[in-house]
Amino acid sequence: MLIEAENLSKTYTLHRKTGRLKRERTTVEAVRDLNLSVAEGELLGYIGPNGAGKSTSIKMFTGILSPSGGTLRVAGLEPIRDRKQLARRIGVVFGQRTTLWWDLPLRDSFALLHRMYAIPDTRFAHNLKRYVDLLDLEALLDTPVRQLSLGQRMRGDLTAALLHDPSVLYLDEPTIGLDVTSKAVVREFLAELNREQGTTIVLTTHDLDDIERLCRRVVVIDHGTVAYDGELAVLRSRVAADRTLVVDLAAPGPPLEVPGAVVTRVDGPRQWLAFPADANAAELVSAVAARYGLVDVSIREPDIEEVIRQLYSS
C-alpha cells in the first residue's frame, strides 16, 4: 500500500475571545477516524464539500500537517518525521497557487528542481523531454511564467511536480479555471501518466467531469471522515440526483409541459428542466422539440456538490 491511514484524526484547538481576559477553548475535529488505503498505480478521486477535511487530510499525507491521532504511512514513511525523504517520493500541484518562479522562464524553475531534488542528469533530461513533448511546452520554456496563460502554467506545474519521478502525485483542482481544450490536455496527460508510468494519482476536484473521465475509484470525504469509498458508477446510481436540460426556445413563453421533466427555472426564452438521472435524455429532447420551437439545448450533469448533498439527505 502506498498510502495507509488508520483512524487518522486531526483536531484544531481554537481560542476565542469571549471577554476582556476570558478565552474560550473550542476544539474542531477537521478529520476523525479516517481510514484509507491507496494501492500503487491507483487513480483516486478525492472529493467532498469545502471544509469537509479534504485538504486537511491531504496536508497530512504530504507531511505539511501533523496528525493528532491514528497512524499514517506514505510510501513506507512517516510523513512528518521523514519529511525530506517523503518529499522526494511525492509530487504536489496546488491548483491555482503555482510553485513556479513568476518572473523567470519555465526552464529556470525546472533547473532549480533538478538541483533541489538531486535528480540525476540523464534522468532529468529524459523526463524533461518527455513531459515537454507530452504537454507541448517546447515553445514556452523560455517564456517568463507570468506571461503564461492559466492552462500553460498548469502544464508547467505538472511538469515541475513530476521531474523527480514521484510515486504519488497529489493534485488539488488541476482543471479549475481552464478552458475546455486545456482541461482535455490535462486529463489526457494524467490518464497516460497513470497508465504508462504507473504513477499513483490522488485527485481533488469539484469538477465531476474530471472524476468521470479519470477515476474509477472515488473517495468522498464528509464531516472529516470517509463517507463513501468505491466505484464512481456505484456512487452515481446510489445517488439519484436529477440532471438538468437547458433549452433555448424560439420565443419566451410559459413553463414547458413535458412528461418526465419539471421546469425549475425560466429566464426569457431559456428554461431549465430537471429530469431523473436514469431517464433517456434523447427522448426528452425530442419530446420538447416536437411541441415547441427549439433553438438550442444542453444537458448538465449534477455537480459533485449536489451528488454529495444527495448522498447525505438520503
Binding site: Y12, T13, T56, K59, T62, G63, I64, L65, S66, S68, I80, R83, K84, Q85, A87, R88, I90, V92, F94, R97, T99, W101, W102, D103, L104, D108, L112, R115, M116, Y117, A118, P120, P144
Partner: protein, 270 residues
C-alpha cells in the same frame, strides 16, 4: 543517486533565483538601488551635521562615531541582506504558499532566509562601508594585531547576533502571522540604539542593553577596545569579547524557537 543540497546549497540556489527574478526588471532595479543608496547616505549626513556643532558626543569624536555607526549599520544590513526573508513568512502563510516550501526535500529555514532576496539590499552597505573606512582612517587608533582582528570580528559577531534575531522574527511570524510590523520595533529599533554611543542613554538603560538585549555586544564592547576607550561601566575585560558566546547562545535559542513555531504551525495549519 545524489543527495539534495544542504542548508547552504539550498540557500544559495534560492537566492540566485530571487536575484535573477529581480534582474528581470533591470532599469527599475538600478533606479531603486541608486535611490536606496542615497537614502541610506542621508543618515550619515545627519551624523556629520551633528558633529558640525559639537566636538564630541558621549566622549566620542567624529571619526570614532563614524566607525561606531558604520560598523553597526554594516552588521545590521549584512544580516538584512542574508536573513531578512523571514519577514515575508507571515504573508506566505496568509497566501498559502508556505506549504510549497514544506513539500521540498530541503531545509525550510534556508528557503525562508532567501525569500524575496533582491540586490537592493546591498545599497545601505555602501554608506555604511564608507563610514567604517573613514572612521578607521580618521580615529587615532593605536593599531595592534588584536585591534585589527577585532574589526572583522565585531562585524561577524554583529551579523550573527542580528541573524539570530531574524530567526526569532520568523518564529514569531509563524506564531502571530501578521506581526511583521510589531517585530520591526525590535529589529530596526535595536539597530538605531546600537548605532549611537550607549553612554548617552544612562546607566540603567545601558545595563539593560548590555545584558538584556545582546545588541551591545554587536559593537559596543569590542569597539571600546579598538578605540582604546575605558568602559564607563567598568565591566571585566573578558566580557568585551563575549560576543561570539552570546551569538551562539542566541542562535541556539532562536533555532529552538523556530522549531517550536514550525511544530506549532504543523499542528494548527493556520
Amino acid at each position: 543517486m545524489g543527495e539534495p543540497p544542504g542548508p547552504v546549497g539550498t540557500y544559495l540556489a534560492t537566492v540566485r533565483m530571487w536575484g535573477r527574478s529581480a534582474m528581470q526588471y533591470r532599469a527599475s532595479l538600478i533606479l531603486l538601488m541608486v535611490n536606496g543608496t542615497l537614502i541610506a547616505g542621508l543618515e550619515l549626513v545627519a551624523l556629520l551635521v551633528v558633529f558640525g556643532n559639537v566636538r564630541s558626543l558621549g566622549g566620542f569624536t567624529l571619526s570614532e562615531a563614524l566607525y561606531l555607526y558604520g560598523a553597526a549599520q554594516a552588521a545590521f544590513y549584512i544580516s538584512d541582506l542574508m536573513f531578512t526573508g523571514t519577514e515575508y513568512l507571515g504573508e506566505r502563510i496568509r497566501m498559502g504558499t508556505f506549504d510549497a516550501l514544506l513539500v521540498r526535500p530541503v531545509g525550510v529555514l534556508p528557503q525562508v532566509f532567501a525569500d524575496q532576496f533582491t540586490p537592493r539590499r546591498f545599497c545601505p552597505l555602501i554608506p555604511a562601508g564608507g563610514a567604517v573606512v573613514a572612521g578607521l582612517v580618521g580615529a587615532p587608533i593605536h593599531w595592534t594585531w588584536l585591534r585589527a582582528a577585532l574589526v572583522p570580528y565585531t562585524l561577524l559577531t554583529g551579523v550573527a547576533v542580528f541573524g539570530a534575531i531574524w530567526v526569532f522574527v520568523g518564529a514569531f511570524q509563524i506564531m502571530v502571522t501578521d506581526a511583521s510590523e510589531a517585530m520591526n520595533v525590535v529589529t530596526y529599533g535595536g539597530q538605531f540604539m546600537s548605532s549611537y554611543p550607549l553612554a548617552l542613554y544612562g546607566r540603567n538603560l545601558m545595563l539593560f542593553l548590555t545584558f538584556g538585549v545582546p545588541f551591545a555586544f554587536v559593537n559596543w564592547q569590542p569597539t571600546l577596545y579598538v578605540l582604546g576607550h575605558a568602559d564607563p561601566l567598568g565591566l571585566p575585560l573578558p566580557l568585551r569579547f563575549a560576543g561570539p558566546l552570546f551569538a551562539a547562545a542566541l542562535w541556539c535559542l532562536a533555532l529552538f524557537a523556530w522549531r517550536a513555531a514550525l511544530r506549532h504551525h504543523r499542528s494548527t495549519g493556520s
